[in-house]
Symmetry: C2
Subunit: 419 residues, 2 copies
Amino acid sequence: MSKNTGYKPLRVETLTARLGKVAEISKQLGDDTSAWNVKEVGDGNLNRMFVVSGAYGSIIIKQALHYVWLVGDSWRLPLYRAYYEYHALTRQASRAPGSVPQILYFDEAQALIAMEFLEPHVKLRRKLILGERVDALAEFLGEFCAQTAFRGSELSMQSEMKKADVALFAGNVEIPAITEALVFTDPYYLAEMNNHTQGLGAVVEKLRSDVTLKVKVQQMLQRFASNTETLVHGNLHTGSVMSTENQTRVIDPEFVQYGPMGFDIGMLCANFLMAYFSQPAHRDDDLADYQNWILGVIEQTAKTFESEFRHLWATERTGMLYPASLFEDQGDDSTAACDAVLAGIWRDAWAVCGIEMHRRCLSLVHNADFEEIEDVAIRAPLEARNLMLGAELILSAEGLKSVNDVCELARAYNSKDFL
Amino acid sequence: MSKNTGYKPLRVETLTARLGKVAEISKQLGDDTSAWNVKEVGDGNLNRMFVVSGAYGSIIIKQALHYVWLVGDSWRLPLYRAYYEYHALTRQASRAPGSVPQILYFDEAQALIAMEFLEPHVKLRRKLILGERVDALAEFLGEFCAQTAFRGSELSMQSEMKKADVALFAGNVEIPAITEALVFTDPYYLAEMNNHTQGLGAVVEKLRSDVTLKVKVQQMLQRFASNTETLVHGNLHTGSVMSTENQTRVIDPEFVQYGPMGFDIGMLCANFLMAYFSQPAHRDDDLADYQNWILGVIEQTAKTFESEFRHLWATERTGMLYPASLFEDQGDDSTAACDAVLAGIWRDAWAVCGIEMHRRCLSLVHNADFEEIEDVAIRAPLEARNLMLGAELILSAEGLKSVNDVCELARAYNSKDFL
């Protein structure tokens, strides 16, 4: 990783002049830069994004910023996160082919990545607020989580390569630190940047005074910060997923780090559960149907994860963990070993799921699913269901038998009144 | 870490000429190199060791070799392990002051460390075979394990420094690979370099056909290889401990890596248990007394670990994990959190303990405690007790309430006949 010497933020007016001679880019857009059209699409908190269109097509230019948009330039962040995002994207592309936008060009000094423009994809979170469905969504997401988890671990990778990769990603300090604070710690005390919906005070107080809950959350933080099972996306919420009616891609892995194999799928399920609980404020007619569809996506995502993981276990177990020499080569079935690994993954996943459900209502960065409900008298009780289920998942993560238990709990909490 | 350019193994004949001009060394020995006396003390498998004496005193020169003595030069090992040993020693010296030999000089290119000569210390394993006692042994070892575990973790360290350190030690690949294979995997199948005492066949077969046991061992391997809770010594057996009648030091941390906080104390307890089970072959008169003394050391080591860990928890919890903002600052006691962390440590420790008890009788590198019992008819039943208790510890690691349970089990197994 080199220094970002000569870094200059791109602007709409300067982008063509600065990138017009980059062969990897002009090949995608056409050499005639006078025909290029540059549009800034400020979406997200940490980066500047541009759609650049030319005679041949369009691409995305993503450049890291020195500061967090949401907070202003008082919160400065290292540009090197583009370097980690680039390395995350190349690994995801090879472990789950077709799951991420194609990378066209990377300029480390400018903290800049040029990549495939996904069109007509929109963020999955937006689709869920609008009540839209996506075909094969669960199958895609379950496979993505299973493939990246398995193939990035020593179930599959040679230890030497994995350790070199652990060393590389250990350089990413400030970005994981955001997760460590905003996700695992801030929700549980009066942190400076916190905010929560009016009316939730009693529920928030209940969570913050539950010592058992806080211990479980910090145990999960310890596992998150001191665990190198696999390379995780690190921020796999529904705003990091883009879909059409029938195609899905995963974007924005700048929170990449080594962590528990259950981290991504846990965070993902949390965001579906928040979409689920927020629905009564977004629609009337097809409410029950659409909520059932969301729970169906959660169930199917988890089941696809399991079946894909078991498939990879049977066909790609080439790493040092649970070697065939100890099982199959001795005539012993290794199903019990796979069961144990999956049980550990789900234990982590449901704890992470509950924690993500908390932080999105209590800490700095809230979910649009709830945030766009303008009437706080409507929003608060829906968020309360989400917060209370979050607590139950954290406290009972070890006892949940399968995703069906989680969906049953969600159905039960969906008609409860906590305020 | 640089390359070992110009590396040349030291010899008794060349040592003085090569090191005579190193100020850090001649300061310890005296400038008159004609008075230096060099003695090779080949002890250990991976290094060449010399005691160099001069007018002022004596020092140890330890130089890494390209190959493993025990196996011959077919098994080659990187010289860079001296670099990691050096960095481990400096960290241990600062986290547990006075616990390791003083480092005088480090030459990375020559993979060479000059350090304090411990005299009249002898290896603790030898003392245990001879039936000797060491005052304050348990207190020293319990504190060493607790201090290095706590102060090397994010309970104490700032995350940025810990992550930089994780990256540094992730470069140590081949040495942890020895542990991964010899400790966690080889004992449980017919690995090429294995050997075990004649007469143990049925017991070994029983272990290797126990799928539940093998799954537990591999889960522990996964935790060992994918866990960066703290910087562990990595090879803390009784041959890595040197004692006089009342003073103890820890040496040889070349197997250093980030790993679970319970790893070192688990391996250490295993070596005391092996000393315990081997005693009937080493003495008659004071057998019961001495065995009780060993169990007392195990109990007191574990209790010192707990009390020191709780003391550090109360006084030095300066890292991001279990912050005071979530507990004390809200008027909540954090004892439940410390209890949970300690429970996790002991769960790992007793699993590691059982695994170490297995590998030392089944894999490549056996313990002198058993190995020096020449009559295999005497050795085998003692090893069988050790192997069977190892299995029980692995299988019941989660259910053991305290070290007292382990010592009770040891007492029970000490009179069982498994052959």
